[in-house]
């Protein structure tokens, strides 16, 4: 398992990873979720000892990566499918890695079979498609039969079949008792694969909890109400103790009430309703809200806006945090 304690990485004045504490446990898929440039890849590189932390530490099974006796037996990582010498065949690429860690030749053929590259094992990897490259990277990760596996954005650019394959692979690896740590900027993807979530935004860990609890805690629903008599209706709804948020399109979002009760209030007061819609915020919105909050600290409007999937005009806060200038990926 992976254990990060106060992990910090600073590039010049920019804090790419800011005192990150999290753990990645065995037997489950831990999603590492964050917008582009949030510090996911930097964190993963620090776990692998490729980048040196400015402060803090991260250990694998209690040991720093560089101190592992035989790293490929402990950790399998796919950071970048293209991180292979294109002139070397798939088999030779794996062979080169196997030699350093005393992994028997038999195992190379095994992992090639596992990822389904048997027919192209002798071909130079430079000619591989993205999907084949990804499979080769996964074969390399599985080479040492490691207990900890890390994948950085593994489904990026893959076709649906490839995505499904990786999803199932990660689940099966976790079911075998391994710790699987997979990064993504897609909440929807994580909702399908991850049992546990570590959410990062602007280098800060925003959540470290089971996926189910993260969804429960962060997703909210509201009721969208339109009425020609909003001026009268809104105060009455507020008087019920519900939060009423005025929207720029002259609707209001009522939080904490169900549509029936709102309809009752309107009816009791003889007010017209033009719309009464229950809007269930998705996981994606929960994630956006969380990461938007990490940036837009003081903007009171940001929360409501981020929760609206339609992206209403005239609400600049609705732009996701990572879409704003100044949040480029430092990597």
């Amino acid at each position: 398992m992976i254990d990060a304690k106060g992990l910090t990485k600073r590039y010049g004045s920019q804090l790419a990873v800011d005192h990150a504490y999290f753990t990645v446990g065995a037997g489950r898929v831990t999603g590492f979720l964050g917008p582009n440039g949030a510090g996911k890849s930097t964190t993963m590189r620090m776990i692998l000892g490729l980048d040196r932390p400015t402060a803090g530490s991260v250990t694998i099974n209690g040991v720093r990566y560089s101190q592992l006796a035989s790293p490929l037996r402990e950790v399998g990582a796919l950071l970048d499918a293209k991180a292979v010498h294109g002139g070397r065949s798939a088999y030779n690429h794996l062979s080169v890695l196997a030699k350093t860690n005393g992994i028997p030749k038999r195992r190379i053929a095994e992992v090639i079979g596992m990822v389904g590259l048997d027919s192209v094992a002798g071909r130079r990897s430079g000619g591989f498609s993205l999907g084949m490259g990804q499979r080769l990277g996964i074969a390399a990760a599985l080479l040492g039969d490691p207990g900890v596996l890390m994948f950085d954005e593994p489904v990026n650019g893959l076709d649906p079949e490839g995505i499904l394959w990786i999803r199932n692979l990660m689940k099966s690896l976790a079911a075998q008792g391994r710790a699987v740590f997979v990064s993504s900027h897609l909440m929807s993807e994580m909702a399908l694969t991850a049992d546990h979530l570590v959410v990062i935004g602007r280098g800060k860990i925003l959540a470290d909890e089971p996926t189910a609890r993260f969804i429960e805690r962060n997703s909210t629903s509201h009721v969208r109400v339109r009425s020609p008599q909003m001026g009268e209706l809104a105060p009455r709804l507020a008087a019920e103790g519900w939060e009423v948020r005025q929207q720029p399109d002259y609707s209001v979002h009522v939080v904490g009430a169900d549509p029936a009760r709102i309809g009752d209030v309107a009816g009791q007061n003889g007010l017209w309703l033009h719309e009464l819609t229950l809007v269930q915020s998705s996981l994606e919105e929960a994630f956006m809200r969380l990461t938007a909050d990490s940036v837009e600290y003081h903007s009171t409007n940001a929360q409501g806006a981020a929760a609206d999937p339609l992206g209403l005009p005239g609400v600049p806060q609705n732009v996701p945090a990572w879409g704003r200038p100044g949040s480029e990926d430092p990597e």
Partner: protein
């Protein structure tokens, strides 16, 4: 905290098929039950609230194995459960991995891997073939030209013909070998392979040292092929004209061997530039610049300082290594180094560059 077998959670669960990758015992459900909530984040990272989809039976398995295998840790520490968790986390007592015995990576394994790397890419073969063709070929061309115009040569020129004439092509071959030195490391950066290499072998100095060693040995072997081939192909032509260059003559043998060492040193210089600049085109440009362009500039430097700077230039120092007493130039120590000082100057230059390369490689983020 480290041990020879800091296995992770891989001690649990069904393993991949294959004889050496056998299943490890699964923990039983009741053993784990007690341990799930001890999670201080140390082992399972489980916050004690369990997401519904967790495979609970397996996730605290490391705790179990740690407990079974290391009773002292549990016994001596008062809050037993977390202690056991930490012991598990440290991996001190992991059962033998499914991947067979885990041993610390040896330098021998690093060499094996680097040797496999260098011989599984085409660029190695191409650069070596070109290096041989350029070195041997140009030596033959120069010899042929010299022999063909023999009658028009002055007596002093004829007297100055020495073993270095047979090795003339090496002065150009070093460039190709230098490019090989650059490529060996820079191709890892351009492809991103360096990150994969470093995950397989995270101890950086041994990794770079293994790479440099394999490169040096390979270049020494090819260098000896080049220099002896150059000698044996060219010496008979001069012999035919009455200029005997016997290999039995110590100075001649030394020059032929020194030429091979020169090739190795330039390969390592290219390697150092490659590691420092981490960019193929940049490092090749610098290598060519230092070997070929810089000496042209320093040749024009005035005064004794200028002469000194010029003679310690890598390519001039390298040429001095191949010279013998017969070379007219070698007698003038104000403009040329002796073979031994040529070797020492070039070796020191390369050593300094390599030291910088190793220091940067150790320090920088990959």
């Amino acid at each position: 905290m480290s041990s020879e077998q800091p296995r992770g959670a891989q001690g649990v669960g069904p393993r991949w098929s294959g004889d050496g990758w056998n299943p490890a015992p699964l923990p039983t459900a009741d053993e784990n039950g007690s341990n799930v909530d001890t999670g201080d984040g140390g082992v399972s990272g489980h916050n004690g609230n369990g997401s519904g989809s967790d495979v609970g039976g397996r996730q605290s398995a490391p705790d179990v194995t740690a407990r079974q295998a290391e009773p002292p840790a549990t016994a001596t520490t008062a809050p037993a459960a977390p202690a056991a968790s930490r012991a598990g986390a440290s991996g001190t007592t992991r059962p033998g991995g499914a991947a067979g015995p885990v041993t610390r990576i040896t330098f021998r394994e690093a060499l094996d891997s680097e040797w496999a790397k260098i011989r599984t890419v085409r660029s190695t073969y191409w650069t070596l073939i070109i290096a041989v063709l350029v070195s041997v070929g140009l030596s033959v061309v120069i010899t042929a030209a010299t022999v063909a115009t023999w009658n028009s040569l002055s007596e002093s020129t004829k007297r100055s013909i020495s073993v270095s004439y047979t090795l003339a092509g090496v002065n150009f071959g070093v460039l190709v070998i230098g490019v090989l030195g650059v490529l060996v490391i820079s191709s890892e950066y351009s492809s991103g392979m360096i990150r994969t290499s470093l995950t397989a072998l995270p101890r950086r100095v041994p990794l770079l040292a293994a790479k440099a060693t394999v490169l040096a040995v390979l270049c020494l072997v090819i260098g000896l092929v080049i220099t002896f081939a150059s000698y044996f192909l060219n010496a008979p032509f001069y012999g035919g004209k009455g200029v005997s260059i016997p290999l039995g003559h110590t100075a001649n043998l030394r020059a032929v061997l020194a030429a091979a060492v020169y090739l190795v040193l330039v390969a390592l210089m290219g390697f150092a530039f490659g590691a420092i600049l981490r960019h193929t085109a940049g490092a090749i440009t610098v290598t060519v610049g230092v070997m070929f362009v810089l000496p042209i500039i320093t040749a024009f430097l005035p005064g004794s300082v200028g002469k000194f700077v010029n003679k310690v230039m890598p390519s001039n120092a390298g040429s001095s290594m191949m010279s013998t007493a017969q070379d007219a130039s070698s007698t003038d120590t104000s403009t040329h180094l002796t073979p031994l000082s040529g070797f020492l100057v070039l070796a020191c230059t390369v050593a300094v560059l390599c030291a910088i390369a190793f220091a940067l490689f150790e320090k920088r983020d990959a």
